[in-house]
């Protein structure tokens, strides 16, 4: 469902028209549009935005850990439309017990490294990712450093 305050935003309205079940919330704050998407419908929405709404670039994929709240993780996608000179943020909330989401590599190849980074540092798995390995940390590293329950300093016991 589209919040009333977003009625005048063409992109928000277009996503609402495309699949109103997929849109679970959104806001327009400090000049930036954020849409919350149900994790299950992410890929069709991304494809729609790329093919029909001119968002040709995926600028970044990252995550936010809301530990100890549940659903724990927000996976954040920043899209960029060059022709419309517009940016858009998409958010999917996923649970901390088994953090898993569909990979966006089928829509943009650039998602490959961005998602590997999120996998490495947050431990979120991306389904159908062609090459899901650690990218920053050593291959035999234990734990995921950007999680909130991972200490900043200290010794391994």
């Amino acid at each position: 469902m589209l919040p009333d305050s977003l009625g005048e935003h063409a992109t928000a309205a277009a996503v609402e028209n495309f699949d109103s079940d997929a849109l679970t919330g959104g806001k327009f704050d400090r000049g930036e549009l954020t849409l919350e998407i149900a994790a299950g419908q992410l890929i069709p929405v991304l494809r729609f935005l790329k093919d029909n709404q001119e968002f040709v670039r995926l600028s970044s994929v990252t995550a936010v850990d809301r530990y100890p709240a549940e659903p724990r993780f927000e996976v954040v996608y920043h899209l960029h439309s060059i022709t419309k000179n517009e940016r858009l943020r998409l958010k999917c909330r996923i649970s901390g017990a088994d953090p898993v989401i569909e990979s966006a590599t089928v829509v943009w190849r650039s998602a490959n490294w961005y998602e590997r980074e999120v996998f490495d540092l947050f431990g979120i798995r991306f389904l159908n990712h062609p090459d899901l390995r650690r990218i920053m940390m050593p291959d035999d590293w234990e734990g995921h450093p950007l999680r909130k329950d991972y200490p900043v300093t200290g010794y391994r016991v």
């Binding site: 704050d29 040709v56 600028s59 970044s60 936010v64 920043h78 940016r87 961005y114």
Partner: protein
């Protein structure tokens, strides 16, 4: 044959490792391996207060410290809703363009040395040295400047900066001509760069490439024009483009960008507004020394800001700027405390480097150096 290039290869400019599979001299597969310079800066942000975190941003891209300072400060100022006085904004533009010159000069010098043109390096570093001296004059530091602070600048612009900058900018265009004399019509340079490192525009957009590489493929994209920040809209400059989309075109784009940056610096220098160089918000900006000696409130604010930091309202922003390498974005999530809840840096080198495989597969091993050199990545920026 499998060839392991790097991580300690002189032309990978840091610690990039390329696993290259060869069939004779033709590359059949190339797999970049990064992460050797990962320092956990994004985690470090979460335990620093907002003003302290400025020093972390220098260390991300050590060839363009002020661009990173700028991205971070703009992001936090957007969260705070802080108004920056004109003099600070123009100073920021001027120094950000100096950073672009600095970065492009290092790129040109090292790129030329990789391909075999030794002397260009010495010429470029002559000018770069003067830029670093100008940085030192402003901030006291040559490389890790931290000169932009949330709310304005770290220090008052130093006495005599105008003449120093003027002296540099008066001769700089003729120095660019010198580089061009050495390279642009040089048959060896042309032979090593023309038609090399082609990758289609569609592939680049799909793979996350930004900056001069896109402009060398004919796409006129530049955040300074598209979404002007820190009053870039008041400056007159062009966004150079080429359509050949090879190493030589990227060289031409960057050479022209240097000329345009010099033009912006001249405009900023000549039109520098007077007035304050930091914002008037006493909750965020440290008070003047004079006031602290005479006013109780100023002393209290000073104590609070230094010991605790300032609170930033809840919210999230994605601040995009045009760094010398391409699209640099700071994604900052605030939970209303004095430290950021989460900071993500979308760095241009990380995106650009993803295109390596696509660019070098099918070409000769001897052209790898020229191709990856034309991407102008910094491994600190890639691995963070």
């Amino acid at each position: 044959m499998v060839l392991n290039m790097g991580p300690q290869h002189p032309s990978t400019h840091g610690v990039l490792r390329l696993l290259i599979e060869l069939d004779g001299e033709i590359i059949t597969k190339c797999q970049p391996d990064i992460g050797f310079l990962h320092t956990g800066i994004e985690k470090e942000f979460e335990v620093k207060n907002y003003q302290q975190a400025v020093t972390l941003t220098d260390r991300v891209d050590y060839l363009a410290p002020l661009s990173n300072n700028l991205g971070w400060c703009l992001a936090v100022e957007k969260l705070l809703g802080l108004e920056i006085p004109p003099q600070a904004q123009w100073m920021r533009v001027m120094l950000a363009e100096f950073t672009r010159l600095n970065s492009h000069l290092v790129w040109l010098g090292t790129h030329a040395i990789d391909i075999g043109a030794m002397s260009v390096f010495l010429y470029c570093f002559r000018e770069r040295e003067e830029i670093l001296r100008i940085f030192e004059m402003f901030s006291g530091q040559r490389m890790m400047t931290s000169y932009f602070r949330i709310g304005g600048l770290a220090l008052e612009p130093p006495r005599g900066w105008y003449h120093r900058v003027k002296k540099f900018i008066d001769v700089f265009p003729s120095r660019v001509d010198e580089y061009e004399n050495l390279l642009t019509a040089n048959p060896i340079w042309i032979g090593r760069t023309k038609g090399i490192g082609y990758i289609s525009l569609e592939d680049m957009l799909d793979l996350g490439v930004t900056g001069p590489m896109l402009r060398a493929a004919g796409l006129k994209i530049d955040t300074r024009k598209d979404k002007p920040y820190t009053s870039y809209e008041k400056f007159d400059f062009d966004v150079p483009t080429r359509t050949e989309n090879d190493v030589f075109a990227r060289y031409q784009v960057r050479i022209e960008e240097m000329r345009q940056s010099a033009k912006i610096i001249r405009q900023a220098m000549e039109g520098m507004p007077s007035g304050p160089w930091k914002a008037a918000d006493e909750h965020v900006v440290l008070p003047d020394r004079e006031k602290m000696k005479t006013q109780m409130e100023a002393l209290i604010y000073h104590f609070k800001i230094v010991t605790e930091g300032f609170r930033v309202p809840e919210g999230e922003v994605y601040q995009v700027i045009e760094s010398p390498r391409g699209e640099l974005a700071y994604y900052v999530v605030s939970d209303g405390t004095t430290s950021p809840y989460r900071v993500h840096m979308r760095t241009p080198s990380f995106g650009n480097l993803q295109a390596t495989s696509k660019m070098v597969e099918g070409i000769l091993i001897a052209d790898v150096i020229a191709s990856i050199g034309s991407m102008d990545f910094v491994l600190g920026d890639t691995d963070r």
